[in-house]
């Protein structure tokens, strides 16, 4: 049975024709995540706004998920995918403890997330992930991911809707890039925290989704 297709302005010209239906499985619920790592610490921050188009779903959604005592994951992008991904991660972490009698290390979790994302290579999780934690030596690590699992370890990273605005700011303030006469010293926890707060203020200034 064919559906009727008609242009509302020309009702006399309606015909029987197949009608294409558009269903998009993805939604962009916005949000940004920023992480900064140091010699013996790592901090991660995320906004708490969940939105759709120009509307706000809620102002108070937590986007950071504690995976183990030493690892935290921040997710920005499609919220439904985030919910599922974090639940699967929790399940995998538990299975690991039961099989190997030890909690998953940050580096192991980082690699596992990469493989999990690639499993859905042809129907990806639409999420901008940043995984942070302390590695075996106690050093802070920041792992950033693309939707299909490309993983890169870095000292600092900004992801999500305001990622492109904030990454250059971090490059300058944390990476000390293109600055003359600066001592190449590693950042302290206090300074990193101060920069993180300023970075989100800047994001909120210009990005409507954060």
């Amino acid at each position: 049975m064919m559906a009727s297709v008609a242009n509302p302005s020309f009702p006399d010209y309606s015909t029987q024709a197949p009608k294409q239906h558009m269903f998009s499985p993805y939604a962009d619920n916005g949000g940004s995540v920023v992480a900064i790592g140091g010699d013996d610490f790592v901090i991660i921050g995320a906004d708490t706004r969940l939105s759709t188009g120009f509307s706000i779903y809620t102002r108070e959604q937590n986007k950071l998920f504690q995976l183990t005592e030493k690892t935290v994951l921040g997710c920005a992008g499609c919220w439904c995918d985030t919910l599922t991904l974090t639940r699967i991660l929790q399940a995998r972490l538990q299975m690991y403890v039961q099989e190997h009698n030890k909690t998953m290390s940050t580096t192991a979790a980082a690699q596992m997330l990469s493989t999990m994302l690639y499993y859905k290579r042809f129907f990806p999780y639409y999420i901008s992930n940043i995984l942070v934690g302390l590695d075996a030596d106690g050093k802070g690590c920041v792992y950033s991911y693309d939707p299909i699992g490309h993983c890169e370890r870095a000292t600092y990273r900004a992801g999500g809707s305001a990622g492109a605005l904030l990454q250059p700011l971090l490059d300058n303030q944390i990476g000390l890039k293109n600055m003359l006469n600066v001592k190449n010293k590693t950042i302290s926890l206090e300074r990193a925290l101060a920069v993180l707060k300023d970075v989100f203020i800047s994001a909120a200034e210009r990005d409507i989704y954060t």
């Binding site: 690991y96 099989e99 190997h100 009698n101 030890k102 998953m104 290390s105 580096t107 192991a108 980082a110 690699q111 596992m112 493989t115």
Partner: protein
């Protein structure tokens, strides 16, 4: 006949029994180790590796719903020797899939006599060379043919060199010390 095989850089196995069956089990151990590295970017624990092979060994007991039922158990006993963050470990696994950690273990046709000798000779504070000498001495006692560098294999697992198979010369060196 190769009876000592590498499973990963930090895990080695000695097998005894039906050699054809042993290939399947060793292959499973190797695949599990590599899969673990692929997913978790870390070395697999020795006990976890033994557990993985054990899971394969007990599959003969499964009913046919998946159609992949085995008709008989694997006729192999395996000694897993490896090093992980808990230190050096030795596990023995029998055809039922049961695996137990040991300080010293002998498997194979001469194992009863050998295990007795181990009971007498072994002590916790043995050095690597003492242990190597002891192992070959015991092997010499239970072997039917005369022990020489072409009919034995020796492998050591140490924190610095990990899996190390002795060369013919190294084996000969140890043999001369025990005769």
């Amino acid at each position: 006949i190769e009876k000592i095989v590498e499973v990963d850089k930090h895990i080695g196995c000695a097998v005894s029994g039906l050699m054809a069956d042993s290939r399947t089990m060793i292959d499973r151990a190797r695949v599990e180790c590599q899969n673990h590295w692929f997913v978790y970017n870390e070395s697999m624990g020795v006990e976890s590796c033994a557990q993985a092979v054990s899971n394969l060994a007990i599959q003969f007991g499964d009913s046919d719903d998946d159609g992949a039922a085995m008709s008989r158990p694997f006729g192999v006993a395996i000694l897993f020797a490896g090093i992980d963050e808990k230190g050096p470990q030795l596990y023995h696994m029998d055809p039922s899939g049961t695996f137990v950690e040991f300080d010293a273990k002998a498997i194979g046709s001469g194992s009863e006599g050998a295990q007795q000798s181990l009971q007498e000779m072994y002590h916790r504070s043995m050095t690597l060379s003492e242990a190597t000498t002891a192992a070959l001495t015991i092997l010499k006692q239970v072997m039917e043919e005369k022990l020489n560098s072409s009919n034995v294999e020796v492998m050591t697992m140490t924190p610095d060199k990990l899996f190390h198979m002795f060369t013919k010369e190294q084996v000969e060196e140890v043999i001369t010390t025990i005769t």
